[in-house]
Symmetry: C2
Subunit: 668 residues, 2 copies
C-alpha cells in the first residue's frame, strides 16, 4: 500500500484523473492526521497514519467492522470536481452490507470509502482496533483490549495450474492483506483447511495466535472468538467467558472445585496426589473436567459452543497450578516448598484434556514462589499495587489466603493457610455462594433477633413469610457477618466462645452438647432443617481470620510500616465481603474505613485482564519475579501473635484472662 | 566469562599470583588464536576465540567430549614459574574421568586445563563442535553436522528456601552455562522434570530443539540423541537412523509401504482415500505404522529404543506427504493438481501417532508442486544441481518417477507416472530389494544361458549348486538388467516382444499362452517355483522407462538443451541401477557413460542431510519455491514421443514397422 507514492487504486471508476492529488485526512479521536493521495481508502489511510481501525476481512467489504463517520464540513472543499462530497459515494455492495448489518445512517465502511478531498473522520468506539473496557478494581480502570488471538477473513481464488499449495496461498494472502509474516499452521488447522475451503468456496476465517500460529480454520465469515479466564481456587472454580474481539464479558460461571472430594486444603491435596496411586492423575482430571464444564456452560449461556473457546487463561495457587498441569506437587509439600515449575506457560487445550477447541491456547500465569501462585499474580494485575505510590495491603481471602503489601518501590507477598471457612466449606451449614445461601446477616443488639438475606432474593428474611425465605445454607460473607454481628451484640465473647450468660432463645445446645446459634429456623429453610452457627464454626472463622491478620502484620513489620494507605479485600465469593465487619472481627489491621475497599474476585479479574491484553502477560511474568516472597514464620513471636489474633477483634490480656476463667485453659 | 578482562578463576589453586598475565593460545585446525588470560580454561578460551569445541556438560568435567591435545613445544615458555608446563596439570577428577572413558594418552579435557603460558592446542575431529561427515553423492561431498537438536547436561544444586521453581532454575542454568535464552519446556518434558531431578539427584540431560524448546528431560548424563530420516516411497519405505551428535549412520531399514494393500500407485491411493469411508485415515495409519516399525527396528539394531528417537525428517511425493499427514489429497487427483499444503512443517511425533519419543520433532521437507514432492527436494539437497554450473539431469526412479534438469541458472522438474515395475511390484515374480531377490542378471549372447546374483550372496548362480542359489524373486535392478541383457542377446526385440524366432529352451509359454523367459528354474529357488520374466513384465518396464525418457526429453526441450553435462540415476532400491543397461534399454537419454552416475537413494540421502544440518532445511524451503515445476504434456508431440520411447532402446520407423508386421497394430 502506498500513500503519497505510487498507489494505483483498482475498482475506482470515479477517479478518471491519473495525476492524483493528495489531501489532508484527520482521524478522531486519535487525532492522527496526514496527507493522503486521492483514491486511497480510509482503511488504508488509517493504517498508514496509525489510527487503528478494526478489520477482520482486511478490506474486502465483508466484515463491516471498519465503521467510520465522515465529518466533511470542517475543511475547505477544494478541488472537488463533479461531486459535492470529499469522499466517494457508497456503492451497491456497501449499501447492501450496511443494510444487512443494520448500520446507523451516515456510517460508512472505511475499506469502501475513498479519499476525494480533505476529510475529518470519526472512528466510533466500536470500530477502533484496540477497544477499551472499563473494569472495576479498587479504583475504576481502563483496559485496552489487545488479545493475543485475532480473527482474519480471506477469500482465496480458485487455484490455477502451476499455483502453489492452498496452504501457501493462504499464507501469502495473510501476508499481503494483513502484513502477517512467518505464520505457520497448527496441525489441526492444516487438517481442517481443505474442507473449510471447499465449504466456504474459498472464503475462510482464520484464528491466529500471537501473529504466529494459525489455530483454527472455519469456512465463511466469523467475528466472535471466545476466551475463558479461570480462577482455580482450592475450594471454588470461577470462570469468565469473554468476547476476545470486543472485550465484553459474556458469561460468568462458578462451581465447587471437584477436587474437594480428595481433600479440603492444599496440604491434603498434595498428600492425596503423592501418596495415592494414580491420585495425581485423578486430581488433575477432576479439575480439568470441572473447568471444561464451566466453559461449556458459559459458552451455552453466550449462545456459542465450547468449540468456539480458542483462548484460556488459568490462575491458581501453586498447588492448584501443579495439579491442573498434572505436575508432581510433592516438592510443595515439604521444606523448602519449591514449585516444580513456575514460568508462564502456553499449552494447547488438547494437551491438558480441556474440552474446548482442541487447538485453543491455554496460558498459565506464572507463579510467584512457594504457595503464592498465579492467582496472586492475577491479583497484582487487577489491583496494580506495583504501579502505585501509596502502600497497599491486599488480602485475598480463600482457602489458601494470600496477602500482598507494598507499592511501586517494593512489593511483598506471603500466603496463609486460611482454611475453607470463608468459602463455606468445613462449616456446619456452609455452602458456596449460590442461590439460597445466606450472604448477609444482621443481629439486633437489643432483641438479639436475627434477620438475613439469601442470594437470589432482594428482601430481608424478616420481611417475608417464612416459607418464602428459602434459605439453603450459609456462604462465606454470611459467616463473616454472623460472627461479627453476634460479637457486637455480645452473644459471642472476644475469645470466640458463646456467652454462657446469653439468654437468647436462638442460642441452643446441639446434639453434641455444643452451643450453637440458630440463624434460620427450619420453617425458613428449603431443607426444613434449621441453619446453625456452631461453636466449631466460630473457631474455624477465628483460625482463618487469625492467619490473615498475622500474615498482614508480618508483612507490615518486614516493610517497616505501621499503617497502610489503602486496603483491598478480595476473594472468589459470589458477593463482596463486608469490609466493616471484617475489621470488626479483626481479619484485617485497623485502617480508616474509607480507605478499605472490598472488590469481587481480583484473581479472576486479573486472569481476564491477561486474557484480553497480551502485554499484560509479559507484565505478569516480570512482576512475578520482582515481587518478594516471604514465609510467615510459624514459631516465636509470630506464633504468639497468631494465638493473640484468634480473639475477636484482637486479643488483650483481659480477654485471654476471661477465657482462662471460663475454660480452665488458654485457647489453642 | 571474561578473557583479558576481569575473569576470576575459581578452583585454581595453582594460580597464586593475583595480577594475571595473558598468553597467546592457538587452536588447530581452525587456526583461531588470541591472547588469553592466565587461569582461563581452554574450553572458555576456545569459545571466546570461536574455535568450536564440543561440550554437552558445559564445562563440568562430566561429558569428556572437549578433548584437546596440548602442543606446547612450539612457543617460547616464558614466565613459567614453578611448573614445566604451559597448562595446569590434570587433577584427580580429570584423570579418573579420562581413565573411565578410555581417553588416549596425552589427551586433556579443555574444561579442566587452564592456561599458564603460550599454547598450541589441537582439537581432534571427535571433539570439534561441528563435526563433518563425508557422504557419497554424484561426487563426494562433506556435510557439516549441525543438527537442530542438541543435548545439554546440567547439575542442579538442591533448592534453598526462597529459590525459584526447579524449572526456572534449570532455565537459568542453561542460560548461564550455554548461553541459551528464551527456552521453553515442552509440556511432556515439564511433566518429566520432577522425577528426572529426583532420580538423577539434580543431574539431568536436556534434549533441546533449535535452541528454543526443551523436548525431553532424562536423569543423569546422555550423549546419543537419535534421528531418523525416512523416504516414503509409493512402494518402498526407507529409513536411516543417525546419531545426531556425530552424524554417524547407525542403521538402515526398509520395507514395503504398507499402503500398497490399498492401491499400487498414487492415483489409486487418492481414490481410496477420497472414495472409501475412513480410507484416508486407514492409509495414514498404515504408513505411520510402517515408519514406526522401521524406527523401532533401526533403534534396536543400534542398541537403543524408539524412545531415543527425538528427531525425524520425512520426505515423499505430494500424495505420500498428504497421506502421512492425514491431509485430504483430493485436490491432487484432478486438474490443476494443487496440493492442500506444501510448506515445510514441524510437528510432534505424538501428533502423527509415530511411536518414537512423543515429543520428537517431525520435520516434513516442503513440496515443490503438483506431484513433485518433498522427496525431490531431498534429491536436490543430496545432488545439489542448484549449486552447479554444469547442466545435470537427475532421474529418480520410483513408482512416481521424478526428473530434475538444470543448474544454478535454472532448475526444472517434472514427475512421471513410472509405475512400480522398478520396485519389483506389478511384476510376475517381482519383489522388493531384500535377501533372495535377483539383483544382477547376465545372459550369454551366444548360448543364451542366464546367470544371476541374489541379494545376500556374493556368488553368481552358475558357480553354486542349484540348491544353494536360494532365489526368491526379482527386484527392480534385476528386472532392468534382465530386459537389457535379453535385448542385447536378441531374445527381446526392439518392440519389447519376445523374438518368436528365438530357440532358447528358457523361452517357454506360460499358462496363459504368453511367452516368458525362465530366469531361475525351480531348483534354484526357495519357493520351488521357476522365476519367469513374462511379456507383461517387459511391457511394464517399457511403460516405466518410456515415461522417464519422455519426461527427460520434455525438460531438455524446455531448457533448450540437446545434451546434458552429467546424469544421475537414483531410487530407493537396495542396490544401484546399472547405468549402462539403463541406457541400453533407453530409460535415459544418450550421454557419455562416464558422465552417468548411479547413486543410492538420493531422496533418503537428502532427508538425512536435512536431519543432520538445520541450515539445509532452510535451503530446502528456498529451493522448493525456486525450482520450476512443469507438467509433462500427455497429448500431441509428447504423446507420440512417449509411444516412440516404449521401444528398446529407441523407436525407429523400422522397429515400429516390424512390430506392426508381427502384431497387426501399433504398440499402445
Amino acid at each position: 500500500m502506498a500513500i503519497n507514492t505510487t498507489h494505483k487504486p483498482q475498482d475506482s471508476p470515479e477517479l478518471p484523473n491519473p495525476d492524483r492529488r493528495s489531501y489532508k485526512v484527520v482521524f478522531q479521536p486519535s487525532g492522527r492526521s496526514g496527507q493522503v493521495e486521492e483514491g486511497v481508502t480510509l482503511l488504508e489511510a488509517a493504517r498508514h497514519l496509525g489510527a487503528g481501525i478494526e478489520s477482520i476481512c482486511g478490506g474486502q467489504e465483508t466484515c463491516a467492522k471498519c465503521q467510520v463517520i465522515i465529518e466533511d464540513g470542517t475543511f475547505p472543499k477544494e478541488n472537488i470536481k463533479s461531486s459535492t462530497s470529499n469522499v466517494t459515494r457508497a456503492g451497491d455492495h456497501e449499501c447492501a452490507l450496511a443494510q444487512r448489518r443494520n448500520l446507523p445512517e451516515g456510517v460508512r465502511l472505511a475499506c469502501a470509502a475513498r479519499v476525494r478531498g480533505n476529510l475529518l473522520v470519526s472512528v466510533p468506539e466500536i470500530a477502533q482496533a484496540q477497544k477499551q473496557v472499563v473494569r472495576k478494581a479498587a479504583t475504576e480502570r481502563i483496559l485496552t483490549v489487545d488479545p493475543i488471538i485475532r480473527l482474519y477473513f480471506i477469500k482465496l481464488a480458485p487455484p490455477q495450474l502451476g499455483d502453489r499449495s492452498d496452504e501457501e496461498r493462504v499464507l501469502a494472502s495473510l501476508k499481503e492483506r494483513f502484513g502477517l509474516e512467518d505464520l505457520v499452521f497448527e496441525y489441526d488447522a492444516l487438517l481442517a483447511l481443505p474442507a473449510a475451503l471447499k465449504t466456504g468456496q474459498g472464503k475462510i476465517t482464520l484464528t491466529v495466535w500471537n501473529s504466529a500460529a494459525i489455530l483454527r480454520v472455519q469456512p465463511n465469515f466469523h467475528d466472535r472468538p471466545l476466551g475463558l479466564a479461570v480462577d482455580i481456587g482450592t475450594t471454588t472454580l470461577a470462570a469468565y467467558l469473554c468476547d476476545l474481539r470486543t472485550g465484553a464479558l459474556l458469561a460468568t460461571t462458578s462451581s465447587m472445585n471437584p477436587q474437594v472430594t480428595y481433600g479440603d486444603d492444599i496440604m491434603s491435596r498434595i498428600s492425596y496426589a503423592v501418596e495415592t496411586p494414580g491420585g495425581r492423575e485423578q486430581l488433575h482430571r477432576s479439575v480439568i473436567h470441572g473447568i471444561t464444564d464451566l466453559g461449556i456452560q458459559a459458552a451455552k449461556e453466550a449462545g456459542a459452543t465450547a468449540e468456539d473457546i480458542v483462548d484460556c487463561v488459568l490462575v491458581g495457587n501453586s498447588v492448584m497450578h501443579h495439579l491442573a498441569l498434572n505436575i508432581d506437587p510433592a516438592s510443595l509439600g515439604h521444606l523448602p516448598f519449591i514449585p516444580a515449575a513456575g514460568s508462564p506457560l502456553d499449552l494447547r487445550a488438547a494437551d491438558l484434556g480441556l474440552g474446548f477447541n482442541p487447538a485453543a491456547r491455554v496460558h498459565f500465569l506464572p507463579l510467584e514462589a512457594g504457595y503464592v501462585g498465579a492467582d496472586n499474580v492475577a491479583v497484582i494485575l487487577a489491583e496494580e499495587p506495583h504501579l502505585q505510590d501509596e502502600i497497599m495491603l491486599i488480602v485475598d481471602v480463600g482457602t489458601n489466603g494470600e496477602i500482598l503489601l507494598g507499592s511501586r518501590q517494593r512489593l511483598l507477598c506471603t500466603s496463609s493457610p486460611t482454611g475453607p471457612a470463608f468459602e463455606g466449606a468445613q462449616i456446619t451449614h456452609g455452602m458456596r455462594a449460590a442461590p439460597g445461601a445466606i450472604e448477609r446477616v444482621r443481629v439486633d443488639p437489643h432483641t438479639l433477633a436475627v434477620r438475613f438475606k439469601v442470594i437470589g432474593s432482594d428482601d430481608w428474611s424478616d420481611s417475608l413469610p417464612p416459607e418464602k425465605v428459602g434459605a439453603r445454607g450459609i456462604c462465606g460473607s454470611g459467616i463473616l457477618e454472623a460472627v461479627s454481628e453476634l460479637f457486637t451484640a455480645g452473644v459471642i465473647m472476644p475469645t470466640g466462645r458463646y456467652n454462657p450468660d446469653c439468654t437468647s432463645p436462638n442460642l441452643v445446645r446441639s446434639a453434641n452438647g455444643q452451643l450453637a446459634y440458630v440463624l434460620a429456623p427450619a420453617e425458613q429453610t428449603i431443607t426444613s432443617q434449621a441453619i446453625l452457627l456452631t461453636q466449631s464454626d466460630i473457631r474455624a472463622v477465628q483460625l482463618a481470620k487469625g492467619a490473615l491478620f498475622t500474615g498482614a502484620q508480618f508483612l507490615m513489620k518486614e516493610l517497616g510500616v505501621e499503617k497502610v494507605d489503602r486496603m483491598v479485600l478480595t476473594g472468589a465469593f459470589g458477593s463482596l465481603l463486608d469490609r466493616q465487619r471484617a475489621m470488626t472481627i479483626g481479619m484485617i489491621p485497623d485502617c480508616d474505613l474509607d480507605k478499605v475497599l472490598a472488590v469481587g474476585n481480583a484473581a479472576g479479574d486479573g486472569a481476564r485482564i491477561a486474557l484480553l491484553n497480551k502485554a499484560k502477560r509479559i507484565e505478569a511474568a516480570q512482576v512475578a519475579v520482582w515481587t518478594e516472597h516471604l514465609i510467615t514464620p510459624l514459631e516465636g513471636e509470630f506464633q504468639q501473635r497468631f494465638v493473640a489474633a484468634l480473639s475477636i477483634p484482637h486479643a488483650t490480656e483481659r480477654f485471654l484472662h476471661i477465657e482462662a476463667l471460663h475454660n480452665g485453659s488458654p485457647p489453642s
